[in-house]
């Protein structure tokens, strides 16, 4: 994806290429793997697998939605800091802000988007009936 982003930036300029810096490169692979691993785990334990893997992948997607809010903070910090200070320091600060704010900003976003508390989300307790996350954790 880094190569593709670089090629797009070369052909179409940094304004189009920049948008591809937030391309979901990891999520498709990780969601598919999470579903597969969860199914296999439940099958080994002799538990009916109907929907377990999908529920784990849905939880992964919810986490990604939370993380993407912090990703906006990373992008804004990089945009403002890269021209102003040392580039390494700018990227380190942007990365630190992403790391630090991914839970709190993500929690607020979770509240707004999914109607559950951010703290609850970190304890994996929100909407247990719909997602079955308590069962996922317990098993």
């Amino acid at each position: 994806m880094t190569v593709i982003a670089g090629l797009i930036a070369q052909h179409y300029g940094p304004s189009v290429g920049g948008a591809f810096l937030a391309f979901p490169a990891i999520f498709p692979a990780s969601a598919t793997l999470v579903e597969k691993h969860e199914k296999e785990k439940k099958q080994r334990a002799g538990i009916a697998t109907s929907g377990r893997g999908r529920e784990a992948a849905a939880l992964e997607a919810r986490g990604a939605a939370m993380g993407s809010v912090a990703l906006a903070v990373f992008a804004s910090a990089a945009w403002k800091l890269i021209p102003a200070v040392n580039a390494g320091v700018a990227l380190a600060v942007a990365l630190f802000l992403w790391w630090d704010l991914r839970s709190s900003f993500g929690g607020c976003a979770a509240q707004a988007i999914f109607g559950c508390d951010g703290g609850d989300l970190w304890r994996v307790r929100c909407r247990p009936r719909r997602l079955g996350v308590r069962q996922i954790v317990r098993n």
């Binding site: 880094t2 940094p14 948008a19 939605a65 906006a72 992008a75």
Partner: protein, 114 residues
């Protein structure tokens, strides 16, 4: 060509690092946060700073915000499709990329006209 190889190696290493961290973390909502890690951004921006300069990289970072808006939309649609509509995760993740493209370039177009 050498730059592309360099991008491939450095980008692949950083993306793999973030993916590996996400894979070992529990609960899954926390692991999911790493699915939205700035892995591509960190590798691409650092290489762009070296090859094209700081202002070019800052412009890329500014336009990344449109991509992030698309990512928020993409993740929300994926969550709903998986939890509510019971769709298969691989299909959701791949078909959802159309949502990412639509969301990203809608925001990008609106921002460029504003």
């Amino acid at each position: 060509m050498a730059e592309l190889v360099y991008r491939f190696l450095v980008g692949g290493a950083i993306v793999s690092l973030f993916a590996a961290i996400g894979d070992v973390l529990k609960p899954k909502s926390l692991a999911g946060v790493f699915a939205a890690a700035p892995s591509v951004a960190v590798s691409t921006l650092s290489l762009t700073i070296l090859s094209n300069g700081k202002n070019y990289a800052a412009l890329e970072a500014k336009n990344m915000i449109a991509g992030v808006a698309g990512f928020v939309l993409y993740a929300c649609v994926c969550e709903q499709a998986l939890a509510r509509w019971k769709m298969h995760s691989a299909a959701v993740a791949v078909l959802g990329l159309a949502v990412w493209i639509a969301g990203t370039f809608s925001v990008w177009f609106l921002a460029s006209r504003w």
